[in-house]
């Protein structure tokens, strides 16, 4: 191992130490990037440090002035607006009117609503907290078992990251230079499989123990009708975003912007309508000025956080690649003599373990640049053909398949004990339900997730079916 590679490794260790000390992720990345480059300049004088520092004149601005990344704050805004305009509530109540009378139906409606909300929201945490707020009170009112109720929402929340649009997928696509749209297309089937599995888990539980989910009384016909009518515009908006993106009618940035526009328009219309009808205040939907302000401020927090990590990752990358670390890692993996499938599974396990305490975006940004070159090398290099490749896929398809696998295991980290961010959120929303209970409630879903990972791993065609069909 060369001196530069050693410095790179030391930097990696330092990064984890700083992270463990609760230094903000973006800051830790920048600090390691700069310190690391200083160390490199000492070991290799041709990597001069002062000129390196001068890059900060333009590095940040050029990183921010990125058309492809502009989709991120727009997706974030779309999710918060949907939540502020009560689209999320309309969605859940409409679905509940459809299937709520089945045993376990309210929980199933919550899973479907999470998936639907995932279609306008790029983040799992936002999906869990929004849908938790909407569905938990209803589940409690119906006297659902608290473990089942909270487990459903913590697991359902993970759908936000996979059902397109997904911020994590956008960022993954930019790192490995994949088509964002193909990534979205690939995520559709695995996302639907997750919905089916979660519904299956609920059905199985209530069949074994019917007392977990009491049967609901029939809804008032009037209320049911209204809920169903309200479901229509919601489905139209969500459906057109998914279709527009999936069929590639729009490229991501216009799709996100049009989505925001549609939700804004719907929110204002709905507001106007509720005023006109003089409905009771708690039933009022639509977008208020306070709601808009709140959505913009929430967007500022989430986007600011994401852009800071992205910038940190850019600085860090400038250190690791100068140190030659990614290339070196690919070399070690290649000469280790381990089976490519074993290495892939080890990678996924590392991602699950890291996911227990690291933010999913930070993880993708730090870890994928190391894993991806290793995989390409193991697979047989950039220009390998499917017939001769170790994983039976060419590079483009490997990109898509690995991206989805990585994302699924990263999201698994959100509900993996002892620390799962989704579990934190749901437990804080549900009064009197502790973390331990939520984790117990989430376990059946967790098992289903493990089965799903195995399925996606053994059947790449499942992931690749939609992009092959839609993008040729």
């Amino acid at each position: 191992m060369s001196e530069l590679e050693l410095i790179g490794l030391a930097g990696l260790v330092l990064l984890f130490v700083l992270l463990a000390l609760r230094i903000p992720v973006g800051l830790a990345m920048i600090a390691v990037g700069i310190a690391g480059n200083y160390a490199l300049s000492l070991a290799a004088p041709y990597l001069r440090f002062e000129p390196y520092l001068k890059q900060f004149k333009t590095l940040l601005w050029n990183g921010l002035a990125n058309y492809e990344l502009s989709v991120v704050p727009l997706f974030v805004l779309m999710g918060y607006l949907a939540s502020q305009t009560q689209l999320s509530r309309d969605l859940f109540q409409g679905l509940n009117a459809l299937v709520g009378r089945l045993r376990g139906g309210v929980a199933m409606a919550a899973v479907c609503a999470c998936a639907g909300f995932g279609a306008v929201c790029g983040s799992s945490l936002a999906t869990a907290s929004t849908m938790g707020r909407v569905a938990l009170p209803e589940l409690r009112r119906m006297r659902y078992d608290p473990k089942l109720a909270t487990g459903t929402l913590a697991a359902g929340g993970t759908l936000g990251i996979l059902i397109p649009p997904s911020i994590a997928l956008v960022i993954y696509a930019i790192i490995v230079e994949a088509s964002v749209i193909q990534m979205f297309q690939a995520a559709i089937l695995p996302g639907l499989v997750a919905v089916a599995f979660f519904i299956g888990v609920i059905a199985l539980q209530v069949r074994l123990k019917p007392e977990l989910a009491p049967l609901a009384d029939p809804m008032e016909e009037q209320a049911r009708k209204q809920a169903l009518i309200r479901l229509i515009p919601v489905l139209v908006i969500f459906g057109s975003i998914i279709l527009g993106l999936g069929m590639g009618l729009f490229t991501p940035t216009p799709a996100a912007a049009v989505g925001v526009f549609a939700i804004l328009a719907y929110g204002l219309l709905r507001r106007f309508q509720s005023n006109g009808l003089g409905t009771e205040s708690h039933q009022r939907g639509g977008l208020t000025l306070t709601g808009l302000r709140e959505a913009l401020l929430q967007t500022a927090v989430t986007s600011g956080m994401i852009y800071f990590i992205l910038f940190g990752a850019e600085v860090l990358k400038g250190f690791f690649t100068r140190a030659g670390l990614p290339t070196a890692m690919a070399g070690w993996a290649g000469t280790s003599g381990l089976d490519p499938w074993v290495i892939l599974i080890v990678m996924l396990i590392i991602l699950i373990l890291l996911g227990c305490f690291m933010d999913s975006l930070a993880m993708i940004l730090v870890v994928v640049p190391f894993l991806w070159p290793v995989l390409v090398d193991l697979n047989g290099g950039d220009y390998t053909t499917a017939a001769t490749a170790a994983y039976g896929l060419d590079t483009e398809e490997l990109k898509i398949w690995f991206g989805i696998l990585a994302l699924v295991v990263v999201e698994l980290g959100l509900i993996t004990p002892p620390v799962g961010l989704n579990v934190f959120i749901i437990s804080s929303l549900a009064e009197n339900v502790g973390m331990r209970a939520v984790f117990r409630g989430v376990m059946p879903f967790f098992s289903a997730e493990i089965v799903r990972v195995a399925l996606l791993l053994s059947l790449p065609a499942l992931t690749l079916f939609m992009p092959r069909l839609l993008s040729g």
Binding site: I23, V25, L60, L64, V301, M305, Y307
Partner: protein, 165 residues
């Protein structure tokens, strides 16, 4: 002082949000024109889109994105890994926290300094955007103001935390 800082950060973030909405509206017009164009195409006509749309988005987002940093700091929104530190004593935790705040302020000032040099250089180079041909240097201004404000917010939090210890 802290109250004023809070108002500034909020107002600044909302201004960034308004820029986002501007992107949304410009896109809506552009996509609308694209749709009309497809429709008009059926009858042999054409409706032009907005030339330089991507350029506009790029420049607008370069201004809007940094405007979110100070408010994100105000709400302590920048992610960090919590679980190891939660085992430490409260005193140690507070020290670490103050150290982070100071380090953030130093970093933000460091970036402000370089961005100001970047503005000067972009101005003297005469760098323009690709399609619209707008000069790029004015778009450094929101970033400079944002990072300076970010440093101020972090410093305010640093001194406030001081009062607690």
């Amino acid at each position: 002082m802290p109250a004023l800082m809070e108002k500034l950060a909020i107002g600044w973030a909302l201004l960034g949000g308004v820029l986002l909405i501007a992107i949304v509206l410009v896109t809506a017009v552009n996509v609308g024109a694209f749709g009309l164009d497809r429709l008009a195409g059926l009858f042999g006509g054409a409706v032009p889109g907005l030339p330089g749309y991507e350029d506009f988005v790029r420049l607008a987002i370069s201004a809007a994105a940094p405007m979110f940093f100070p408010y994100c700091q105000l709400r302590r929104g920048h992610v960090a890994v919590d679980i190891f530190v939660s085992h430490f004593s409260l005193r140690t935790q507070r020290r670490l926290d103050r150290f982070s705040l100071l380090a953030i302020a130093v970093m933000a000032l460091f970036l402000t300094y370089w961005l100001i040099l970047g503005l000067g250089e972009t101005y003297s180079d005469g760098a323009l955007s690709r399609v619209l041909g707008w000069p790029e240097w004015p778009f450094y201004l929101p970033g400079i103001a944002s990072l300076a404000l970010w440093a101020l917010v972090a410093l305010t939090q640093f001194f406030k935390a001081d009062a607690h210890v």
